[in-house]
Symmetry: C2
Subunit: 367 residues, 2 copies
């Protein structure tokens, strides 16, 4: 027997070879505008932050949109999020953990934007089972529902940078090893892999976009357990003093929600995206401090943001699952889909603050 | 703000730095022999293949051993496996999915060898929920049980090479990207990461050994759904013709069970192993063909193995989750614990065949 070292032709490597030819798409964004007219589209987590923004765009594009959401009180679902399109979408209140319900709801759909999830990092440590049921088990049953009831559906999964854990190098590309630092990261990793597996093994076309911090109108603002962005915006608008943990130099890349919606639509229509995992991201990265300073300036233009900010030590429960600096290399999605973010931080924050200035009462009780 | 790229000091990197100093252990195996006397040891999957071999060694070392096993019919648990030590261990029939039971059973234990699992690759595709419940949910509840009832316990988790999927390069080291190709691989990946997470966040000392193909006495022989090794041995001993899928040149590294048991004992006593993930492995790798030829020679010495073998095409359900060649780089555990396998293939097969020649009726019905 020979000791020759050789590897199988493996999807990951094969994909990288394709990138060379895909690079012709790098100059031009894939076109999706005409492709959703009359199409049936299911969005899980459809009343949530990204789901509702996506729904508004899809309605604009002429799609027949069905929103599934469980409206779990502390999660992001909010009926007001779809107020502008409420007569042009169907809303079905259901939990993705209900396998029977999902078996029915996926039927006949052309696209599934699979955004329902438990996204609180700290919550996942306090209640790991709920996180498991939503981010693992329900994902499996959604994919089984597709496999048995609608195998020709195309699935776009909302993955997360959280699977990488603390970066070993920056910017983080998709070849970065996965070392999640909380239960949520582990379960999202499994949920993402189910999608790739069902694509590869059963031909259920699916892909994952690994989202980084996303912000914009319709973001959950009821509590601060889903990340610092919402909480900072709320405090700034309420003229409260913002507490920045650590020295404020920690770096993040942040996407305005419309850019994320566009990435999802591009990925949905482009067959070359099937089976792939692609980072979203933005450059340059911004520090917490820079984010807060920009936010306060934007708020002050609207007569708010008078609470300022201060630096404060990390609370222990947050520190132990903190990942330090993070920003992504999003070259892969740029090469494959021609996507790159278009909305800068200041403009994104201006739109966000303007939205909440008008609709604050629908999102939180004024301090 | 600066665009400087810098990373946090990260456990993975930190560990690699430690390896330089740990290399002084490379010459000498860590000593464990005196360290289990009078110690309370819990083994989940304790009536299974590896669990029972481990139990026999621990009894020899003077440990107070408690075996937990659910005896699910098609799994590896078999009361006969512990026949030689049945009066010197306690057996508690329980399912690791029973969180209340585990809450009680972990109390007062010094060590937990956490070996219970669903390990069939095809089974995991047919019934992904059971795989999820055992390999993810139950792992979480075992760790929660330790956290709340016995935080000073030391946990050795039986991980698997299955998390790597199809190798991108050979031999596969621990930095190889994880791309599992079946539900079992995904869930085992999550289960492993829960252990590392609970070590890092809650200080529940835990580590994972990524096992490759393991064989030896007490391996489940009732069916062929847990890998080719058991099935080939059974067919050879029954003088049936062995069917090798593909051209027979596919490579694997195989560990005799005593070597795996030793790795687990070393890892249990060595504090420097906490939080780590380490491959087991063997060299040189052997082809399926070489394995079968050696097996048939060994069987023929016992007057069996007259059925020979033939090459046959892969069945589609196996082909689509097949990973091609695999063998591990086990340099990390060699450096850290001084472990390397001691039993060669021929000797291991001789011991295995001798065991089943004596006890065949306890393991399968003769053809």
């Amino acid at each position: 027997m020979s000791g020759v070292s050789h590897t199988q032709e493996e999807p990951w490597l094969r994909q990288d070879k394709e990138l060379a030819s895909a690079s012709r798409y790098a100059q031009d964004r894939v076109s999706y505008e005409g492709q959703f007219a009359g199409k049936k589209v299911l969005i899980t987590g459809g009343l949530g932050f990204i789901g509702s923004n996506l729904a508004m765009r899809l309605v604009e594009l002429g799609a027949d949109v069905l929103l599934v959401d469980s409206l779990i009180p502390d999660y992001g679902g909010n009926l007001f999020n779809v107020e502008p399109i409420k007569d042009r979408v169907r809303v079905n209140i259901a939990d993705v953990r209900d396998a029977n319900g999902m078996n029915y709801l996926v039927r006949g759909q052309d696209y599934l934007f699979n955004l329902a999830g438990q996204i609180g990092h700290i919550d996942s440590m306090c209640d790991p089972y709920t996180d498991l049921d939503i981010n693992c088990r329900a994902q499996l049953s959604i994919l089984e529902a597709c496999r048995h009831n609608n195998p020709s559906i195309k699935v776009v999964f909302a993955g997360t940078r959280q699977v990488y854990g603390a970066p070993q190098y920056l910017p983080v590309d998709e070849k970065h090893i996965l070392r999640p630092v909380d239960v949520n990261g582990i379960n999202k990793m499994a949920g993402e892999w189910y999608h790739i597996l069902y694509n590869n093994v059963y031909g259920i076309r699916a892909l994952s976009l690994r989202l980084t911090n996303t912000y914009g109108p319709r973001l959950l603002m009821k509590h601060g357990r889903q990340g610092f962005v919402a909480w900072f915006i709320r405090q700034a608008m309420d003229n409260q003093e913002i507490q920045i943990f650590g020295d404020g130099h920690q770096l993040r890349d942040m996407n305005y929600v419309d850019d994320v919606v566009e990435a999802m639509l591009l990925a949905a229509v482009y067959e070359g995206a099937n089976g792939r995992i692609m980072n979203l991201g933005n450059d340059p990265p911004v520090s917490h401090l820079e984010f807060v300073q920009t936010l306060l300036e934007v708020c002050q233009e609207h007569g708010m943001g008078h609470g300022g900010y201060r630096l404060t030590p990390f609370p222990p429960d947050k520190k132990r699952i903190d990942i330090g600096d993070y920003y992504a290399d999003y070259g892969k999605i740029r090469r494959i889909l021609g996507w790159s973010p278009r909305i800068g931080l200041r403009e994104g924050l201006q739109r966000t603050v303007a939205y909440y200035a008008q609709h604050r009462d629908q999102y939180w009780e004024r301090a």
